[in-house]
């Protein structure tokens, strides 16, 4: 009696479909995880730049305190103030700039006893702006006007 070999066509097809689904799932998982990781990295870098500016600000405070302690009058105070410091009456201000478009604006009120009181300490980041659209879309929008 002739024995027939087992036909594998349908099984191979099924397995191929399953492999394709699995491949899609794997790619989606990997891309999702990579995007999450990239966002976490970005947040980590932003935090580092925030506190780099904080260090600049605290160093400015130390320099301001040193200048106030060494100054005898307003004229000598102006020469002793830290760089990039603007004095308007009893108010001194500075704008510390960070590497990635961040800035720290500090303002302090000079007190009668030769000290200071911080009245502004605000960090902000410049809006990077939207990226230029690809030429194709630019052309399309231009044609629609």
């Amino acid at each position: 009696m002739e024995s027939r070999p087992v036909r594998l066509g349908w099984l191979s097809l099924l397995v191929t479909v399953v492999i394709l689904c699995l491949a899609t799932l794997s790619v989606l998982s990997l891309s999702t995880a990579q995007a999450d990781w990239a966002q976490a990295q970005k947040q980590a870098l932003q935090t580092e730049s925030v506190y780099a500016l904080e260090r600049d600000g605290q160093q400015w405070l130390a320099a301001l305190d040193a200048a106030l302690g060494a100054a005898h009058d307003e004229t000598s105070l102006d020469t002793l103030l830290p760089p990039d410091t603007v004095r308007t009456g009893s108010r001194v201000c500075t704008l510390q700039k960070g590497a990635d478009g961040r800035s720290l604006s500090i303002a302090a009120e000079l007190t009668a006893d030769g000290g200071y009181r911080v009245v502004q300490w605000s960090q902000s980041a410049e809006w990077a702006g939207e990226e230029e659209p690809p030429a194709l879309f630019g052309t399309l929008f231009g044609a629609m006007d």
Binding site: I19, A23, L30, D36, Q39, Y51, A66
Partner: protein, 146 residues
């Protein structure tokens, strides 16, 4: 002869299909493993950044080095580093419980003409590696309330 040729073709096809399947399974399993690893690392990094930033804010609000240690709720290690344990959600944990994250804080004082500039080096670790490092400073005026 005809039957044996058909049988041989069947086995060759089987072997090739099995090889293709094994290769696919290996690649896909590796991709899934990488995705799982990346996802875990992203979660850990986000948590570590939050812990370090929280500690930096507590330093900014403290009045002195000792006040910061109290505010942080940290214990001092043998080499003078401050250490604080955190659970998997990034909340402070009791020292007795195995910690998911540990915050290590090394402090350096730099004398200034009228005060002290304290530099804090924060390192957030898990069991095996340092996840995130952050450096910040706080100036303490010698005359408080000045």
């Amino acid at each position: 002869m005809h039957k044996s040729r058909r049988g041989a073709a069947f086995y060759v096809e089987t072997i090739l299909l099995v090889l293709f399947l094994l290769l696919s399974l290996t690649v896909l399993a590796r991709m899934l493993g990488t995705a799982r690893q990346l996802s875990r690392e992203a979660r850990q990094l986000s948590c570590a950044v939050r812990i370090a930033q929280d500690a930096a804010e507590q330093l900014a609000a403290s009045d002195s080095r000792e006040d910061f240690a109290v505010l942080l709720g940290a214990r001092q290690t043998e080499d003078g580093t401050l250490a604080r344990a955190y659970n998997a959600e990034g909340a402070p944990a009791a020292d007795a419980i195995p910690a998911a994250y540990t915050l290590l804080c090394r402090l350096e004082e730099t004398a200034q003409p009228h005060g002290v500039l304290l530099t804090a080096y924060f390192t957030v670790c898990n069991d095996s590696e340092a996840l995130y490092e952050l450096e910040t400073q706080k100036y303490f005026c010698a005359q408080p309330g000045k």
